[in-house]
């Protein structure tokens, strides 16, 4: 029916068309577009890989120090007079440990100094000695060498995380001080710095001509203020030494006729500014330490070869502690394990049953559609909402205990369920219909088809989804915080489904909130361990997925 002659003019002759400049431009543009698309993709991947690298590098850099710990090799005499062999756990280990440590520094006898010295050892060192004796009761009466952890500041000092001295003055104060420098009023004489300035001895500040009682502070401040554009500021008032007013007072007392006149005075600077003016630096001992003596003692220990840095098993076998050098993840790991166990036991059967019914049995109507949509939406609900639900329903309505792994697992299973259901349905769908037909064909009932054929074949896919769901649950923090699964658990002896517990992510959260310097690296280390678990779980999931692919 086509009229060939009518159509011909609209199509350009082939030879002209494909070779024309226009066509070539079009091809060039197409290639350029292809290349651009590739470049976008590569740069996106590059950016993602780079950010991931930065993340890992940061974590490793700040976290690796938590994997070893600073210890002192201490020779402890387990005095049988102090330790009862029948009840070794009852002895005064504080005294035993301290005495052994003080024996290293016989020259330190002052009580105050000894107290400062004892702070080198961790507060938990006593318990390490106690545990050692309880484990080796035969060593009572002999001299044993025990590795004891040092306290956090010395641990961090040894790892080079914190400095011995820090700047005494903030950069803002140094900038203020530089104003004086630029004015050229700073002078150094006899190892002391001065501000040379004119001070007006205001008669109004000399009440009733009483030179002794005159307000020299005010005079000095009036004069000094003129150097700065800002209003009264405590920051510049502290630049001058307290002796500055005394210097003026001395001049005026020596010559009472100066009242009402302007005199040139050399005002001394306070300690840190003095040092800044003379040496360009003002430092103080890091406030985490007592004094320079701390460093002398610690360096002495190091020189004697008593300081070692073994692998930090404490990170894995200890429970939480207020002292970072003793804090470990054992409590968090067991809490997370219990919660995940509950989560798995709840969400795996419920998820599979739901998916099986929806996929294989449910009639297709608006009710099942509604359920389906809601399950998919459930996956998008913020996890903190599940936490609130757990708080309102499991804790308040059901009266379950706070902070318990049981409740944590129940809340997490709410989050894991949609993942498992969606993955299970996908896995069931992926079982080829030919297998079902074959089973129906030999006369299997629906139940037999599901149990003997479809479910076993879908199982790797289901397990993949479950593991990914559990991995998500492992990293979930917010819902656990809401039900209080961030309890401080200093001992792992009392772990149970209904006992208060901690989870790995909430442990990270609480450590990241702690002021001690050691918790910074502990936090990074805990994140690394959490990531290691996640990577392992996902690797298992990938392995299972590949296994299902091998089947057909």
């Amino acid at each position: 029916m086509t009229d060939v002659s009518a159509q011909t003019p609209t199509v350009p002759p082939r030879s002209n068309y494909w070779g024309s400049a226009k066509a070539k431009r079009r091809i060039k543009r197409r290639y350029a577009a292809d290349r651009r698309l590739q470049i976008y993709g590569i740069s996106a991947i590059g950016l993602a890989v780079m950010l991931l690298g930065v993340l890992f590098a940061t974590l490793l850099f700040s976290g690796y120090v938590a994997f070893y710990t600073t210890k002192v090799d201490l020779s402890v005499y387990l005095d049988p007079k102090l330790i009862d062999k029948a009840k070794p756990e009852k002895a005064n280990y504080r005294k035993i440990t301290r005495d052994a440590f003080f024996a290293l520094f016989p020259e330190v006898t002052d009580r105050k100094e000894r107290r400062q010295l004892s702070k080198i050892l961790s507060s938990g060192a006593t318990y390490v000695v106690r545990d050692f004796v309880v484990e080796h009761p035969d060593d009572i009466g002999s001299l044993v060498s025990i590795q004891l952890p040092v306290s956090d500041p010395f641990d961090q000092l040894n790892k080079g995380v914190i400095p011995r001295e820090i700047d005494a003055l903030s950069s803002g104060r140094i900038a203020l001080f530089n104003v004086l420098k630029q004015r050229g009023v700073l002078h150094v004489e006899n190892d002391k710095a001065y501000v040379k300035t004119d001070v007006y001895v205001n008669p109004l500040d000399v009440p009733e001509g009483n030179l002794e009682q005159a307000d020299y502070d005010r005079m000095v401040n009036e004069a000094f203020r003129s150097f700065f554009m800002t209003a009264r500021n405590p920051a510049y008032e502290e630049i001058l030494s307290e002796d500055a007013a005394a210097a003026v007072k001395a001049r005026v007392l020596a010559d009472p006729s100066l009242v009402g006149k302007t005199i040139e005075v050399k005002l001394p600077l306070s300690e840190h500014y003095d040092s800044l003016a003379r040496t360009g630096r003002a430092t103080i001992v890091n406030p985490r330490f007592g004094s320079h003596k701390d460093f002398e003692w610690f360096d002495d220990l190091k020189k004697r070869g008593l300081i070692s840095t073994p692998f930090s098993w404490e990170l894995f076998v200890n429970a939480d502690s207020r002292f970072p050098e003793l804090a470990g993840l054992a409590g968090a790991l067991s809490g997370s394990f219990l919660a995940l166990l509950v989560c798995f036991l709840l969400s795996f059967p419920v998820g599979i049953a739901t998916a099986l019914y929806l996929e294989e049995f449910a009639p297709k109507n608006k009710w099942t559609d509604l359920i389906e949509v809601n399950i998919n939406n459930l996956a998008a609900v913020p996890s903190v909402v599940f936490g609130l639900l757990g708080l309102a329903v499991f804790l308040n309505a059901f009266g379950l205990p706070r902070s318990a792994p049981l409740v944590g697992g129940m809340v997490l299973s709410l989050m894991t369920l949609p993942t498992i259901i969606v993955a299970t349905r996908a896995a069931l769908k992926a079982v080829p219909p030919s297998i079902r037909e074959a089973a129906y064909g030999v006369g299997a009932s629906k139940h037999q088809v599901m149990m003997h054929h479809v479910l076993p074949l879908a199982m790797p896919g289901i397990l993949t989804g479950t593991i990914i769901g559990l991995a998500q649950a492992l990293g979930e923090t917010a819902p656990l915080l809401l039900i209080g699964m961030n309890a401080f658990i200093p001992s792992i002896e009392n772990m149970g489904l209904l006992e208060p517990a901690m989870a790995l992510p909430t442990q990270i959260f609480s450590w990241s909130d702690s002021p001690e310097r050691g918790f910074v690296s502990r936090t990074s280390a805990a994140i690394l361990i959490l990531l290691a678990f996640l990577v392992t779980m996902n690797a298992i999931a990938v392995y299972l997925r590949q296994k299902i692919e091998r089947k057909w």
Partner: protein
């Protein structure tokens, strides 16, 4: 327009038609006014067809004509398709298979099925065949079960090829072997009727020949209904042939008659290659 009718003998060869028996056997399956609906769409229109026992009945016709749908009515496989509805009456040995008290699982035991694509379970050869007898409780003991498996493999002509690796996965066999495994699996539950839905369409000619040979042997014990696209195959294996077109049964009769002397113009056009 080429009006010259190509003689069918040239297409399939004289020899194939020579040995055919016209099929005078007792009726195994009777269908009366069978219609099938997929949702609102009607796929089959009032099919009336009698299928003889101890013979092979082939269903031919162009794609989408409803021959597979009709086949799947015979063991109520259409029940598993959502939205599918069957009306009319199908009698197997005079028994209505849509009777409410009839157990569909038992029916499928009596009516075995072999599918277009070989679909062994991803299990061992032994388990593939043993599955049916196991779920139907046909074997009283392990030795019984082994005997059933061996007999079925033998009947399917597969025993010699697989007896060394009976515990290896059935999916590891070649396509033709897999299809014969599926036939063995179907006969292991001792059915009366075997339905075959294009059993050779995924096989090469040599495997096809073996399966056809097997069908020919099985017909003495079973009633076989086979859907095929290949008219040569229909001519080779079947005693009676039914031609479906657009959901209707156009013509049914002894295979030799259908291919040499069709009564309907549509049948003639189809078997001579005018359409389809």
């Amino acid at each position: 327009m080429n009006d010259q009718t190509r003689p069918f003998e040239m297409a399939i060869g004289n020899s194939a038609l020579a040995g055919m028996d016209s099929g005078n056997h007792p009726i195994k399956v009777t269908s009366r006014k069978v219609s099938v609906f997929y949702g609102n769409k009607q796929a089959l229109f009032d099919i009336n067809l009698d299928i003889p026992d101890h013979a092979v009945m082939s269903l031919i016709g162009p794609s989408g004509c409803g021959k597979s749908t009709f086949l799947r009515c015979l063991n109520r496989m259409n029940d598993t398709i959502p939205g599918c509805r069957v009306t009319g009456q199908i009698l197997v040995d005079g028994e209505d298979i849509h009777r409410p008290d009839l157990d569909v699982v038992e029916l499928r035991g009596r009516v075995g099925m072999v599918f277009q694509k070989p679909n062994p379970f991803p299990k061992s050869i032994f388990d593939n065949i043993a599955y049916g007898p196991r779920i139907h409780g046909l074997a009283a003991s392990k030795t019984d079960l082994e005997e059933i498996v061996i007999t079925s493999l033998e009947k399917a002509g597969l025993l010699q090829e697989v007896k060394e690796r009976i515990n290896e996965p059935g999916t590891g066999l070649s396509g033709g072997q897999q299809q014969r495994l599926c036939i063995a699996r179907a006969i292991a539950v001792n059915p009366e009727l075997i339905l075959m839905d294009e059993p050779c369409s995924a096989l090469d000619p040599i495997a096809t020949a073996k399966v056809e040979e097997l069908i020919d042997e099985l017909k003495s014990n079973y009633c076989i209904v086979i859907v095929t696209h290949s008219m040569q195959q229909a001519a080779r294996v079947s005693q009676r042939t039914a031609f479906f077109h657009l959901g209707e049964l156009v013509e049914e009769g002894p295979t030799a008659e259908i291919f040499t002397n069709p009564k309907e113009k549509r049948t003639q056009d189809y078997i001579t290659g005018r359409f389809g």
